[in-house]
Symmetry: C2
Subunit: 327 residues, 2 copies
């Protein structure tokens, strides 16, 4: 089968389509005929050599996919060959076939086409597990998500809005800010011109912050928290080591949490996927949440797709498809 | 009535017994005839001018007491005048009488004398609310408490042991370490000779850490955490601003939480007290947890009591009593 790997650590040009053996479903696993996959920031880090796949996982890139079940491993129940699904992967999505534990395979939400479904697993599982399962965002609470126009951001704005939180977000261009507002953000700030700390403080502070900047925003995020606020760090695009003012944290009785989805044990990923199907898919099916897709390119154009994500000019998700051409 | 205040910010010599008006119970409050109170680290900080009482609270020192109900304010039910109780206070314990919201008043656990009961409210509410209600320590998990021979430490070791955690602690003398082991600590380390990070790492990491050192231990505490570990900071004796390695926190999917009891709203304190009476008092009544009391001095000797706590040579709690002399 065709699959995309990074020949060596480097820029988008190191991505190469190779021929490799098709995967075989082990006990509890399924193999999916991939129709589409998506480019995540983590993929670009892996390409540069900074984020190796967990031990035992394929070095084929790709953390999510949509497609049809090709085969079922021993003991797998609840799926049928040919069924349209999407899945959360530890790696291997940039390929014609991928092998995945059955617990990480989800039905395609009603009303979503099979290509677009590849935009959902990572953002839905990340936002739901962190903002709702971990940080416990409640209706009426103030929620701040940085980078509102990205894959995570566009999904988080819609999900938090659907669940009656008051949504604040940041982005770096007027076009991105407009998209954030259209998706439901109550307040969308250009971080180049405005200080999110002041805006949040004036509003009473953020009850939950979802952050991908890490160290660079640590102090300001803590300053922006409300009493009993929760800062959830899921990325470190602004560095890993930052100064934490425990005095401020203690006065606010607040918390700093940091998590990642990829390294979690299979059973935790399965629990997250089950919770997403139960709580989030109905909101996708009824139109409250729409996948926001910047573009869909063929697998051969993975390098171009990575360039887009590296340059961060995209809005929503960048998808790759194994289909030969798009209608 | 007699009460102890700090004449001005300073050393133990600034503590003075004054005559002041007795308190009157407002709606939802009770007045307690104080039999004993306890010296907390927070009192010594307040004496030095670093930790003022919350707005509207008395400037009389004292965050807990035991005694008998003297009068009931409007709408208070479930207590009777003369009943022996202990209470969590926002201030005012170093006095012959104190006024307190009824939700912060607890019965004296069975088998505990009334003077000794003054050793319990702060440590029981602090340890239970942080280690169990907030950080969710589970049976079989590894729990590290720094300063095992202090008031918090001696209580935390016993409570975590009673609830089947594996308990690690630190202290600064052989005598203190022996006490920690006698109270149930599985591993007691002299922090002058041994590195708690290495010991915890070798054991698989700490699932929950209760810390009063703040910035000084922040990096090492995070290093000592297990996957999904929770660091709860309740004091900042080692400074407020420290470097946090979000990369380590993210790899461990761990959390840094910081809280204090004193500034919480009355209804939260009441919920904590109710939970303590339900879950912790039975363990005191059956002898699983004993109050550890270093000494009991009269109210007039508050300065000596503060000197003991400042020098940190004590083991367990230092109490003050309004009784004229001890048997």
């Amino acid at each position: 089968m065709r699959a995309v790997i990074a020949r060596e650590p480097g820029g988008p040009e190191v991505l190469t389509v190779t021929e490799t053996d098709a995967p075989v479903a082990g006990p509890g696993e399924v193999v999916i005929d991939v129709v589409a996959t998506a480019v995540n920031k983590a993929d670009t880090l892996q390409r540069m050599g900074f984020y190796p796949p967990p031990p035992g996982e394929s070095d084929i890139l790709g953390l999510e996919c949509s497609g049809r079940i090709a085969s079922l491993g021993e003991g797998v129940e609840g799926f049928t060959v040919g069924q349209e699904v999407c899945a959360l992967l530890a790696s291997g999505g940039y390929a014609e076939q991928v092998r995945v534990p059955a617990g990480q395979v989800m039905p395609v939400p009603e009303g979503i086409d099979l290509v677009s479904a590849a935009a959902l697993p990572e953002v839905a599982c990340t936002v739901w597990s962190n903002v709702f399962m971990l940080a416990g965002l409640q209706p009426g609470e103030r929620f701040l998500v940085h980078g509102g126009a990205g894959g995570i951001g566009t999904f988080a704005i819609q999900l938090a809005t659907a669940l009656s939180a008051r949504v604040f977000t940041t982005a770096g261009s007027e076009e991105k800010l407009r998209v954030c507002r259209d998706l439901g953000a109550d307040v969308a700030l250009n971080y180049r011109d405005e200080d999110f700390v002041e805006v949040l403080k004036a509003a009473g502070g953020a009850d939950v912050i979802l952050d991908n900047m890490g160290a660079k925003y640590l102090g300001r995020n803590v300053d922006a928290l409300a009493t009993q606020g929760r800062l959830v760090v899921i990325g470190m695009q602004g560095g890993t080591k930052g100064e934490l003012d425990l005095g401020t944290l203690l006065r606010k009785r607040a918390a700093v949490l940091a998590t990642s989805l990829r390294a979690r044990p299979t059973e935790e990923k399965a629990a997250i996927c089950a919770s997403v199907v139960e709580h989030v898919w109905p909101l996708v099916a009824d139109g409250s949440i729409k996948p926001v897709i910047h573009t869909v390119l063929t697998l051969e154009r993975a390098g171009e797709a990575h360039t887009l994500v590296d340059e961060s000019t995209h809005i929503g998700k960048v998808l790759l498809t194994t289909l030969p051409a798009l209608p």
